[in-house]
Amino acid sequence: MVQELFTSLLDRPEQFSGRSSLMTFLYRATTNLCLNRLRNARTRRRLLERQGPPPASAPARAEARAQAAELLRRLPEDQAKAVVYYYIDEMSQAEVADMLGCSRRHVGDLLTRARAQAAAGELRRVR
């Protein structure tokens, strides 16, 4: 994924407009690339075939990862990005707002809706 990102940037350096810092841009570009990949069904199938079933030694972690991947695939794009920045990159809400170009209030709303979706998904699995 990293290789793909940097190859793309070397081919088309104009992707970085200079409106944010380079590091911020790299975080944002990497997140977009990963979420796009996650939403690509054909890619998911290929990854699953290549990786096979999760090792029995780490079932809980594998299950959590699968749930997180499924949640990110189901969420609307802005909620998925907010979840990645806040729960995976563990940025502050202010940083997430900066990454998304919106207010902190809006970030809070996005995370609330994402949590509700996650809780609904867990409920469905329990049933």
Binding site: V2, F6, L9, L10, P13, F16, G18, S21, L22, M23, T24, L26, Y27, A64, Q67, A68, L71, V83, Y86, Y87, D89, E90, M91, S92, Q93, E95, A114, R115, A118, E122
Partner: protein
Amino acid sequence: MILERTRDEECLSDLTLDRMRVGELSASEDAAAREHLAGCERCAARRGELAGDADAAALPPLAARRRGPWGVALVFAAAAAVTLIVTRPAPAPAPEPAPEIGERRKGAPTLRFHVRRGDAVLEGAPGEVLRPGDAIRFGYSWSEGGALAVLSRDGAGVTSVYFPQGQVMPTVAAGEAVELPGATLLDDVTGPETFYGVFCARPVALERLRVAVEADPDAPRLPGECVIDRVRVEKRDGR
């Protein structure tokens, strides 16, 4: 529960730590981050982990061929931040409120540099990791032209003038990616180092510039007609 965090909101994110390492934080942001790191073992440890990752990824075999500016910048950034180093030439000069590190004003003059390590030459970028013995050659891009000096504040807090070698701030022509004569051989003082490209409408006493940087490295007080471009690098022992 899928959605859980492992660190408090007031702790530093990886993004902040990465931006800190490559010198993208403003002076006030950098000071706040350092204050937090002084009292938070978890963040200090995480900072060390990220620096280790960046160090491991930084400057793979130096390419002898020259890359485009973004190629080099991105390689450095990918290393998650980087930094350079240099020697301690003759002490020298200083200026007015400088833009924050990483801030680029459209059309503003830019300080550039190349690193020679052995037979390889690489175009440098903010956050570069440099080694003692590396040779640095500075350059600039400036649409107007005027008087130019390059200063540095090393890991020991010593401020020096890298360019020019003489006592007078020389006048340079407008140009893109113009290389300055001479090179600076990095000494063995390690730690974060900041290069200051000082671009003025007319020559200013070098000692005045040096004193200004020494007095306030984050915001040197320079004459109004001077503009500063800062590049933060890091000098580390080679392995």
